[in-house]
């Protein structure tokens, strides 16, 4: 579960902005919140039952409501990050969530695979 990464990215983004008083700041804050929400959704599969995760999800809803943020709207551009060694053969912008096996391996043992086939008459 990588909810702390989402938390730190959100706080890092918002701590650089001003005090959220003007309309422009509000737009920026909503954008940061949507990005935060997006990040939590990515972690949902592995964070189920994690207190920090559920707190974050509720906190985001509250903040969105307080700031009248729309759930649909622009999000922040993803940050450029140094890809870990196992990503060296993949597109650098391909999110980790899009690699089932790499994701799975970090959280559990080797996945069990099943097979199904249909052929003939």
């Amino acid at each position: 579960c990588k909810i702390l990464k989402c938390n730190s990215e959100f706080w890092s983004t918002t701590s650089n902005s001003h005090h959220h008083t003007g309309a422009e700041d509000s737009v920026e804050f909503c954008t940061a919140l949507r990005t935060y929400a997006h990040c939590t959704r990515r972690t949902a599969r592995y964070c189920r039952g994690d207190l920090a995760y559920h707190s974050a999800v509720h906190g985001i809803d509250d903040l969105m409501s307080q700031h009248n943020c729309s759930k649909d709207g622009p999000t922040s551009q993803p940050r450029v990050r140094t890809p870990p060694p196992w990503d060296s053969q993949e597109r650098s912008d391909s999110p980790e969530i899009c690699h089932y096996e790499k994701n799975f391996h970090r959280h559990s043992a080797t996945p069990n695979y099943t097979h199904c086939g249909l052929f003939g008459d």
Partner: protein
């Protein structure tokens, strides 16, 4: 068609018309089966539709469709990957043999799908993690889908009934055309043994298909189905199956 389910049960089914093979949070696969001869209860797959559902920042919803004599190496929108999202390349179509064999790799769900056209008809094979197989919103009300539950009892064909008949009555019973009576069981067995030396259920399916249709392309269909199992199945000790799944009333089917 012959169905090998996620739990390695093996059935021969009628399933004429459209039937779901897979239906979960990520993927929906539907096949359409048509009679191999007019009026025949023996059917084969003439159309396959695969819907990859929209998934986070990986893929947009993508639809793949193959029909008889049309096995494209692209989704219906003409694209070959998951769209415009940052993880779009975690879904891609690879053309193995033009018009005959494609592979779809869905890395974001750890899934590989193989679709072939052998003769006039289509074959389907998939390798999928159990976690994905079981990813359904409402498991209690999960509808029928063949890869998980197998064919309904009233759709299963009893091999024993077929094999107990002479080739001539067999072909009349199954309503096949003149080709249907061109093979005796001995001839069909010999033909199938050329491609499938082990007398497992793939071999038996091959014999069944030759006797019901007289179409030698079904020999290749069984052969490639087994080739796909060899590549996609995770347990190499379970490639060959010998025991047919028990029958409708609960009576055991004959062993090979």
């Amino acid at each position: 068609p012959h169905l090998r389910t996620f739990t390695d049960t093996f059935q021969t089914c009628k399933i004429q018309g459209a039937w779901p093979l897979i239906d979960n949070n990520y993927l929906n696969v539907q096949v359409t089966n048509t009679p191999v001869h007019p009026g025949s209860t023996a059917t084969a797959t003439s159309k396959i539709t695969i819907i990859f559902k929209n998934f986070q920042e990986c893929v947009d919803q993508k639809v793949y469709q193959a029909e008889m004599d049309e096995l494209p190496a692209a989704f219906v929108d003409g694209s070959k990957n998951g769209g415009d999202k940052s993880g779009a390349n975690s879904l891609k179509i690879i053309e193995k043999v033009s018009g005959q064999h494609i592979e779809i790799q869905a890395k974001y769900i750890g899934t590989t799908i193989v679709v072939r056209q052998v003769g006039r008809y289509l074959t389907f094979a998939v390798r999928m993690p159990e976690e994905v197989v079981n990813a359904v919103e409402d498991k209690e009300n999960q509808g029928l889908y063949l890869c998980l539950q197998g064919c309904p009892q009233n759709q299963q064909i009893d091999f024993r009934t077929f094999h107990s008949q002479t080739p001539e009555t067999g072909s009349r019973r199954h309503g096949t055309g003149s080709n249907g009576s061109s093979f005796t069981p001995q001839m069909a067995g010999a033909k199938c043994k050329e491609k499938l030396p082990v007398e497992d259920l793939y071999f038996q399916s091959c014999v069944f298909d030759l006797l019901t249709t007289g179409d030698v392309n079904f020999t290749l269909a069984a052969y490639y189905a087994f080739e796909d199992v060899k590549v996609l199945h995770s347990n190499k000790d379970k490639l060959h199956l010998y025991e047919r799944t028990t029958f409708g009333s609960g009576t055991a089917a004959p062993q090979s």
